[in-house]
Structures are given as structure tokens and as C-alpha cells.
Symmetry: C2
Subunit: 256 residues, 2 copies
């Protein structure tokens, strides 16, 4: 197997399954560490902070540093800061979004923002959504952390961030810039962070529709692992195949 | 002109324009009263109660009784009561929706409802929308008062009820029953209320996309008035023409 200079690794379905550990994942990370292969965890979860993500990985026996976690919130903050260091931002979102924007030193505002960032907010209100719509109509750029419309829970499907993003899109007639997978923006931020070329990196994930597609769109090799959403069977129906598809990460050999 | 046994009349753009009176409208209503021609005001506004609608008409010099006002909220309550007299209802909406459901004697609940009624609620929250989604997935019937996605205000477009209805539709993968114009349900309720056949009634309104379409769908003659949204020019592009199109209601002669 090729010697990749960077591994971008999905979390749920790849490193663990909900509250359940995936034993092969822990061993895979241990191998990366042993071989000093650089890696980042790249997740679509916008509400969790880096610290909470690290704590959650620890529960599953996986060691990680905060700077090894890339969320759509971090990527959005990073993107804004790179494009316009003095930009002001109005946001909808939970602690993950707020912390990310603050940690990048972005100025938050409720009046005349340059950007509107929309992440899942389980305490949102008509007023918050309305204000986002008005800011966008006044010319603010519209950034969405992730496009998931419905999120499965024990009670049934509940609204995901994409449901509100689509609502704002319909009201404002404005297309959002989507940060999360399957869009490539977060992967581009990850490449910059580790300072590698797309051809030297690989995206590892269980979900063809998000992880693998994002990798393909950003020009990376992709490693599909059959421990989550997309089965081996499902791959028969897709046009562009992942570079590799493995039953578990135990089948992967890290070369450097 | 034909002697109609019932007039169904739109409000904004037909009886007044925002806060501005339309003088010919007042005279038209006076003629209906003089000739004892039965009429109902049929509006897509779900948040205003019957009483508030009557008060608003009075400001423009038009007398009306509460029972002459049909809103999507009243029509929804009426529809539920006719289909299932013992139905329980979870609703999202303002006073107009709540009062309408209570006045029809519908039992309101937040647990295991038979129906979910969604009207505009400028105090809605993630939780309210989520609960509506879960109830619908548990089998509750999904009723929407009106399908307006964006509402023009002085500040810009703000989310209308249709924006939230579409969000719930995407999350639950369930089509709503839409009560308001251009759907025919509210017109059907109006026909029953005045006990007339579609061929004996006429729908009067300024908006081709809502008022006139609703009349056509319910099998009524239609009277388009050029005092609001749809101009004479706009009608050149529509396939099914209204029965009549007049510059103002002063050109109409009430026959009985």
C-alpha cells in the first residue's frame, strides 16, 4: 500500500459506532502513531467542541490531541479568517460553533455581519432564523457547517442542520457555501493544515455519501471501511469506486 | 352578470392594500348587503383571529361579522372536526390557530396527537418543530394552514409558514394536507358553510396564484380584480383565465 503523508479520518462508523468501540480502529491509530504518520480526525459534527471530541475518543481508547480534530465549525472559522481577517460574523449554532469562531479570533455580531454561519442549534428560534435571512439579504455571505437534513435518533428522525439551511436558502434565494462533507472545503482546510498535496493524502471513512465523496471531490485517494453506514453491497451502485474498501481497518498496512 | 348565490372574497389586495383602503371595495360590500347576497371573507392569514380580522376590516370602513370570516385555521379546525370529532391535535401557531381549534372544541395535546396542525408561529423553537416531526412519524396526520414560503416585510423577506412546512416535510418525508389557497380545502369548507354548489359561487381576489387558482381548483367562477398582486398584463401568461378580470370592483354589478 502507498505511503501516504496524511490520513484524514472520519469518526462515527469509522472510529466507533455510537457508544460502541470498534477494536480495529484503536489498533489502526496505534499503527499511525508508531509510524509517525500524520493524521487528522475530520467530522461533520458542528455542535461538539474539539475538547469534547477528544474526550469522546478517549472513551473508546483512542488518544488524540485537540489540534488533530477538524470540525466544520473550525473549518468555517478558518475559511473566514483566511478570506477576510477582519470579517464580522453572525452565527446560529451551539458551543462547537461559538468556540471555533472565538478561538480563530473572529468578531461576533448581531448587526450587519459580513458572514452568516449556520450550524445545528437545538435552541434556535424563529427570530434567530429570521435575522439570518435578513442579514443574507443585506449581503452577508452564507456559510453552512453541514448539509444533513434529518438525523436519526431513538425517537425518530429529527431536524438536522441541512433542514434549516434549506429553509434559509428558500427564503433568501441564496445558495450557501457548505463546509462539511461531502463538500470539499473542510478537506481543503485539512490539506493546508498538514501542508500536503491531495495526491499524498487519503480520506478514511464508512459513509460513501459523505466521507468518500468529499475525498473524491478534493482529489484524494479514499479508504472505505465497512464498519458503518455504507456496506460492500451498497458500493455496487456507485459510479466512482473508493480507492480501497476493507471489511475493517485491521486489513490496512501503514507504510511510510 | 350571473346571479351568484355566494361570494368568497379575499382580503389584502382586494378589500384593502396593507394599511391603505380601496374605496371601491367598501361600495362593493355595500351592494352585496343591499342585495342580500351571501358572502364570506376567505383569507390565507392563519395568525389573526376572526375578531382581529373584523376589527381590521372596520378600520377600512367595511362591516363584517365574525362568522363571515374564514381563515385556514378555522377551516383546519372544521376539517378535523368533520373527519374525526374526537381527534386530538398538536399545533404550532399563534392565537389565530389556537382560538380556531378551541372554538371548534378540538382537544389539544402535546402527546400522541391524531393531527399535527402547522401555522406560522413567530415564537417557534427547535423543540416545537422537532416534536411535530416526531408526532408525524408516529402516524399523526399533517395539516398545514398555508404554503407561503417567504413573506415580504419592510426589512426584507422573512420565513413564512410554508418554509417550516417544507422543513417538516423533508425531515418526515410526509406530504402535508394544505388548507389555504391555492389548495381547494378552504373553499370546500366555505361552500359547505353557505350550503351552495360550486357552480353557484364565485371567488373574488387580486392574486392569480392563490385566490384565482383556488377558485378554479374548487370548480368556481372567478373574479380577478386588478388592485393587488396580479396585473392585467400578468394574466397574458396564465393558461386558465379567470371568468372575469376588472380594473376595480366598481365595475361589478351585483345581480340576485
Amino acid at each position: 500500500m502507498k505511503a501516504y503523508k496524511a490520513y484524514f479520518i472520519d469518526l462515527d462508523g469509522t472510529m466507533y459506532r455510537g457508544k460502541e468501540a470498534i477494536p480495529e480502529a484503536k489498533e489502526f491509530i496505534r499503527q499511525l502513531q508508531e509510524n509517525q504518520a500524520p493524521y487528522l480526525f475530520v467530522t461533520n459534527n458542528s455542535s461538539r467542541t474539539r475538547m469534547k471530541t477528544v474526550e469522546n475518543l478517549k472513551k473508546h481508547g483512542i488518544e488524540a490531541k485537540e489540534e488533530q480534530v477538524l470540525t466544520p465549525s473550525i473549518a468555517a472559522a478558518n475559511y473566514i479568517k483566511q478570506n477576510d481577517p477582519h470579517a464580522t460574523v453572525y452565527f446560529i449554532g451551539e458551543k462547537g460553533v461559538e468556540d471555533a469562531l472565538r478561538s480563530e479570533g473572529v468578531e461576533l455580531t448581531t448587526k450587519n455581519p459580513d458572514y452568516v454561519v449556520v450550524g445545528i442549534d437545538r435552541h434556535n428560534s424563529y427570530k434567530k432564523i429570521k435575522d439570518a435571512c435578513l442579514h443574507i439579504q443585506n449581503g452577508a455571505k452564507f456559510l453552512a457547517t453541514n448539509p444533513d437534513i434529518r438525523v436519526p435518533t431513538e425517537e425518530g428522525f429529527v431536524p438536522g442542520n441541512g433542514a434549516y439551511v434549506n429553509l434559509i436558502k428558500e427564503v433568501t434565494k441564496t445558495e450557501p457555501i457548505i463546509v462539511g462533507k461531502p463538500d470539499r472545503l473542510m478537506i481543503d482546510v485539512a490539506l493546508k493544515e498538514l501542508n500536503v498535496e491531495p495526491s499524498d493524502a487519503i480520506m478514511v471513512g464508512d459513509n460513501y455519501e459523505t466521507d468518500i465523496k468529499a475525498g473524491i471531490r478534493a482529489g484524494l485517494d479514499t479508504l472505505h471501511v465497512q464498519t458503518g453506514v455504507t456496506s460492500k453491497e451498497d458500493l455496487k451502485d456507485v459510479e466512482v469506486q473508493p480507492t480501497y474498501s476493507l471489511a475493517t481497518l485491521a486489513e490496512w498496512q501503514v507504510n511510510v
